[in-house]
Amino acid sequence: MNNSRRRFIKQSGSAAIGATLLNGTVTQSSLGRILGNQTGSKPTLVVIYLRGGADALNVVIPYKEKKYAELRPTIALPGPDTKDENRAIPLDDTFALNPNLKGFAKLYEKGQCAPIICVGSPHPTRSHFSAQDYMERAAPGMPNVTTGWLNRYLEETKSENDPDLRSFVLQPQLPRSLRGTYPVVAMPRRLSDQTMEIYKDSYNNMTTKRKGSGQQLKGQILSTGKSTIANLKELNRLIGQDSGSGDSNYPKTPFGARMSNVAKIIKANKGTEVTVLDYGGWDHHQNEGPIDGALGTKLADLGDSITAFADDLGERMERVLVLVMSEFGRTVRENGNNGTDHGHGGAMFAIGRMISEKKTYGTWNGLEDPNLYKNRDLPVNTDFRSVFAESIHSLFGFDGIKAGLFPKYSRENQPLNFLRKV
């Protein structure tokens, strides 16, 4: 469907390299940049969704607040001013990072990692399902909006020459943010070319009738099957090759492997704009273990995988933004079981070389009771939609608010401005 586009890209790309080579000024990085730009490789948004409501307060820690340790007698992290070997890593005068995120701290020092605090949904729900739903559809309190916000972006900006891998996920199910009318590839694993051959003919030749019960569903299954055949072959090629380099720095975990595979596809310049990775298991009602327990182990995996990804992509991170989010934060007070219950305001991370300033973004009110939401949670001072809007504006130059991508939402008076234009 996009042969002519591919051919054009190939030619113009090699012509540019040829010219540079003649000038004799080519270096490894400028070659990369030329390839990156000239092959039409788009900027890429990588969303990582922590399902379960990650405990923001033990990830980005307000270490100067006396109340922090008071309200969390068994699960507070030791502050950076202590001698504890597991002390938090200071970012500025107010905040420190969980020690498991040491890679993030290094990126922060380089101005490539932006923590965003007290961010979340204006809707008060504390249900995992509703909160995720509203967030992924960027339509808090609007059950009638049924498409994912990333899918709406893709649909809104589609062209006839869209590459097949413009948006993909490497997991069995599409996250809700990518559900909708725009076709997104979900490829959980490799499938042998041989197996695909068995079904190729029957799927490509089969048709559906216009009428009759079950015909609509049959049509959906057929088109799913066809795109599976087309895309899997391509993905097999990309992920299967080049397994020697880059891999070794990733943690040997399922998430690490997925990040490594995402990097391979981005580096192959297939025009990928959006991918999402789901990461489950952040609902720590008991024995939270922020250092070496349940939360700590997960954070280390998350941090190490993303840091390895940023290293792997190197200069390409000028055009790749990783956005880490969760459906809500958790109660400021720990509960009766060394854990926390569902809260309100949470935290996000933006990682990339387009971060505008080295600082923590968002408004902080402190942990005194009157400043908490309903006397128990962090407030939401930044609507998640403003982060979403700024991300796609910075990466793709697309003004989602103006285009109506976010129903019933208008521009904030004071946007975060955490990203430069790519």
């Binding site: 249900s127 069995p172 068995i198 079950g214 099957g225 599976t228 009602h285 509960n335 079981n337 219950d341």
Partner: protein, 505 residues
């Protein structure tokens, strides 16, 4: 051009536009043929037809078959029970017996201290083995029963409640087998409020959602929230965050521990611990609790929630979605809700109201549901009449497809709507599964002699047989021409199982 021609042309033009809609309506208005009715009943009230079953049900009339399925006790399942008792004995054990058989001997602190490193390792290994065996017995029983029980509607319904009252096996290893048998299966054809009460008082649910450690001095809201959001009222339906906290308070003390059972044995199970309990008054979803009725206060509120009209609506909607259509009509939901309320949640009557509604057998609902991975795998085991022995392989396949048995880690359970499963990559797994399983079956010679004899048939005849067995709802001509592209019997079976038709029910 004369005016009359214009009008004529306009009429012609209009009829072109209108015709398709009219036709669709006309087509959907045609009642299903007896054969189609049999296929539909077998698709929705069982995990798919076995060889020859469509003919049998269509001959006896689907209603008669459904009547029997709605009264599972009337169907003899003795042979399967016997096999389960041999291979999956833990399902039939009390908590005490499970402990005795699946936990290594408990050592005193002194004894533990004196263990050498080697002995300790050995003990750990033994514990893991026994625990693994216990989990495997549960998972394999789910697969075997779904595939081979004669009480198919019971299995379909049990799968619904297993999902509605989801627990996560890795968190409740010693309690899940007992939960499956004594909560889900025991009450699936009883009263809704008894089902909910049984789940509320079972260690599997109390531990899974952390209520066993919730105390007046340190509340845990997890179970209280999900009891209202997922088990009874539905999300943000009739309750607020204040209700969640109040309910959590009333349910403090609902925990697990050891007590003497009726058999005089010291058994781990549900207990009410007054020392954990919040004795204050509370108001939850309109019900005032005076406080310190102890266990009784919690029981009152659980019943109040189970009997609430919001619960009747929510549960009826879910059941209609599961059995009839991803988007059931509001009229149907309302009617079923009325039955739910009038019968005080008599589930048997609720199922009956759905199955014998006009909507259930309407053509517009025929083949319109996309099978979940579980339904896909089980239905093809049934269609191929495959011996269900290697349940480990089947369980692993389901894990890869994103629906591992008893391992949904979110309390929501798995979605029963196509939207959640019909993802772009979904066919990759199903194709791989179709290819692998047909190979395995062929290698083991595990195909019935009757099917074996089809190998000698000419391709067309063979394709007809395969169509009748695996995709009986498909029109003969298109099915046969598709199947004839496959090489031999195995090739045709692979094509049928991986075809769109086999994913629909």
């Amino acid at each position: 051009m004369k005016p009359i021609n214009c009008t004529f042309l306009l009429a012609l033009l209009m009829s072109c536009f209108l015709l398709p809609t009219v036709l669709v309506q006309a087509e959907n208005a045609t009642p299903l043929t007896p054969r189609e009715q049999a296929i539909h009943a077998l698709n929705r009230m069982s995990f798919g037809p076995q060889p020859g079953q469509v003919d049998r049900v269509s001959k006896m009339g689907w209603e008669k078959w459904a009547e029997r399925q709605l009264e599972p006790e009337s169907i003899d399942d003795g042979e399967l029970d016997k096999r389960l008792k041999e291979n999956n004995p833990s399902l039939f054990m009390g908590s005490h017996e499970i402990e005795q058989n699946y936990m290594p001997e408990r050592l005193s602190k002194e004894e533990q201290k004196n263990l050498s490193a080697e002995e300790r390792q050995k003990l750990n290994k033994k514990r893991n083995q026994l625990r693994g065996k216990l989990g495997n017995e549960l998972i394999s029983s789910v697969i075997v029963r779904a595939a081979q029980s004669e009480r198919q509607f019971q299995e379909v319904i049990v799968e619904f409640w297993r999902n509605h009252l989801n627990v996560y096996l890795p968190k409740v290893r010693y309690a899940a087998n007992h939960y499956e048998q004594n909560v889900i299966r025991k009450h699936a054809f009883g009263k809704f409020e008894e089902l909910i009460m049984a789940s509320a008082k079972h260690p599997a649910m109390l531990i899974y959602l952390d209520n066993h450690i919730s105390k007046s001095s340190g509340l845990n809201e997890n179970y209280a929230r999900e009891l209202m959001e997922l088990h009874t009222l539905g999300v943000d339906n009739h309750y607020t965050q204040e209700d969640v906290v109040e309910l959590a308070r009333v349910l403090t003390g609902w925990t697990c521990g050891r007590k003497k059972g009726e058999d005089g044995l010291n058994t781990y199970g549900f207990i009410f611990n007054p020392r954990f309990h919040d004795k204050n008054s509370a108001k939850i979803v309109g019900l005032e609790i005076e406080g310190d009725g102890g266990l009784g206060d919690g029981e009152k509120i659980v019943l109040h929630l189970a009997r609430h009209k919001g619960t009747a609506q929510y549960v009826s909607t879910k059941l209609c979605r599961y059995l009839v259509s991803d988007n059931p009509s509001q009229e149907l939901i309302d009617r079923v809700t009325q039955v739910f309320l009038k019968t005080n949640g008599d589930l048997r009557k609720v199922y009956r109201a759905i199955i014998f509604s006009d909507e259930f057998m309407m053509r517009e609902n025929f083949k319109t549901k996309f099978k979940t991975p579980f339904e896909f795998v089980i239905s093809w085991l049934r269609a191929a009449n495959a011996p269900v022995k290697q349940t480990g392989t089947i369980a692993r396949t389901l894990t890869e497809m994103g629906q591992p048995i008893y391992m949904c880690d979110v309390p929501t359970g798995y979605s029963d709507q196509a939207e959640a499963w019909l993802d772009p990559g979904v066919m990759a797994y199903r194709w791989e599964c179709s290819v692998n399983y047909t190979q395995v079956l062929a290698k083991r010679g595990a195909v019935s002699p009757q099917v074996e004899s089809w190998k000698k048939l000419p391709p067309r005849k063979m394709a007809e047989k395969v169509r009748n067995m695996l995709i009986p709802g498909e029109p003969v001509e298109s099915a046969v021409s598709m199947l004839m592209k496959g090489e031999g019997l195995r090739g045709m079976a692979q094509l049928a199982l991986g075809s769109p038709a086999f994913q629909q029910q």
